[in-house]
Symmetry: D3
Subunit: 132 residues, 6 copies
């Protein structure tokens, strides 16, 4: 199995509902350093998993929809906590949708899975990995 991983980041505000979150129930924020890993069993004729320029652009566009925002006011997360896990899944879903529309290029049809990892500090991260 081959894979290619690219890194980007977002800086957001949010708060959580639920006693389990303790002080994080208050409005606070986070930098999420985002690693997106694209996996494929085969390389294309250029010797690559995916056109990394297009993939990076797609990640950047998706992250721009979250960046510099208060996620408590984002309608796409109404009624849900925007935990690191939930955000990893949301970014995965949006990337999968871009791929379905052909937005990752022709070679992306061979992708088997994508793993999205969000590092919220030097001590903690969360990820979602799904098949395509």
């Amino acid at each position: 199995m081959y894979s290619v991983t690219v890194r980007d980041h977002i800086m957001i505000a949010h708060s959580f509902r639920g006693e389990v979150f303790g002080p994080a129930q208050k409005l606070h924020g986070a930098t999420f350093v985002v690693d997106v890993e694209f996996r494929s069993k085969e390389l294309d004729e250029n010797g690559i998993v995916i056109d990394i320029g297009r993939a990076s652009d797609a990640v950047r566009v998706i992250l721009a929809g979250l960046n510099y925002r208060n996620l408590d006011e984002d309608p796409s997360f109404t009624g849900r906590n925007t935990t690191t896990e939930v955000l990893a899944r949301a970014i995965f879903d949006r990337l999968a949708a871009v791929r379905s529309r052909g937005g990752l290029g022709a070679g992306a049809s061979a992708l088997e899975s994508i793993r999205v990892t969000l590092h919220e500090s030097h001590l903690a991260s969360a990820s979602f990995e799904g098949r395509l």
Copy 2:
């Protein structure tokens, strides 16, 4: 598959038996930076894999049982080398036992697997991953 990872560390002394270890047969020591990854197919109603506060506390308690010690004198490792691999497995086993007793919280019953990685330097690490 979702996952959440938390980081902590220990500083221990030990020595190894076996020619394969060369100079590490002498009493020396290591800082192990420990990453524990908790994996689950589903999120709970709060949108999390596990109560990260409880999980971090459980890791801290387990590591406190190893930290600032000469592992050559720890009865739980008598007759065995406390290699990075062996320690990764021991931490996994202790975490699995804590979970069985309910010590990781109710949500932890949905965990599928745990991966424990110990970084012994900027050049080397070892891990153990097991199903629950």
Copy 3:
């Protein structure tokens, strides 16, 4: 010159005033990984720059006053942007005040300077260094 550095972090929300900040004028947030470096020309009789336990506790208490908050509502920053630079200076000032009150221990009287660095992502950081 000797130095000792400890790391901790905070997760805050804030917004900036001024066109120079572009989209960061909106409410957003950040994880700041905080490195505090304590500098001294001499070591004490224990062979240390400072009691690292007390120093880390002091940093933790100061950061707890900022952590999990919307800094736009913190009276100590009214009328000012809580940029990474401004926060580095604020943490320095608070540490210097703790030291003046003896809160870093007896050995801290030999400290020459402190440098506070805040990493806001894998791409950017800011710091303030001042004499004591």
Copy 4:
């Protein structure tokens, strides 16, 4: 599953053929920080996945065959792009061959798989993982 990972690096020049590579079609270069992960279901009698000294030496010898070179002139890659993915696979193949010849030591016969990851910058990496 147990694993052990060792890190090394190479510094090479190369160029790519194909419009997808944009400016990287020109002769340029890269530092590849190489992580090799050895995986096994069981530990040997010493408590290790593999003799890490022999494994590191094997990695070093294989990387020495690529290091400080213009890969455009390396006959083993004639007609192919030496992308990060292709290089990860090549290093895997060479390690697998060394193991088949017994070059990783007796314990290496229990290895299940190897994963080779090449970090080309702080923003991008590629890997190949294969069974043995």
Copy 5:
């Protein structure tokens, strides 16, 4: 003293003249992860050392003049080795020239010094720091 640091990178080919360089006398290459630290005694009215957007853009433009090239063919380095040290100095000189032309914005007139650090691997880096 305040400082702000931004990170970017280049991927270049080159070779060195001089026996001291051993195998690096052959054409090879490197990824240089570039940290540029801007230092100032005072913050401007926005609470910043420098407009980080303009500073990052200036760094990007300067690095674009080096990126994806064989530096052996760059006339600006004719007769000189493009060592990590020499490149750090060259990037500093180009940034200082941009600032003199006003290209870093009005606030940049208060800058005291700049430090440019190039990381060539996980094991080695070089830097040049100069007053403005």
Copy 6:
């Protein structure tokens, strides 16, 4: 001012005397990732601060005198705590002595200072910087 930094590491056992050290009064150990920064105002005719090969070899030889040991039994530290600060100074002193004997090569005579930093975990480090 130019600088070049190289990284290496040691794995040692030791214990401390003094209540300030708490549980670290017991025999334990550490991995110290060691960064040595060599500083000079000028580059030599090759465009370098120092022959990095010779410098790295000198660091390796000095570290070999500490590596895989119980520092409590090292006569050169009798009666002193081998804190991170003390070890940073000891490595500096030994490097300065090697340089005085010509062991860093002819170009090393232009060195102004050396800074030795020991990272004991992902959370703490200490350093000593001295003029030559």
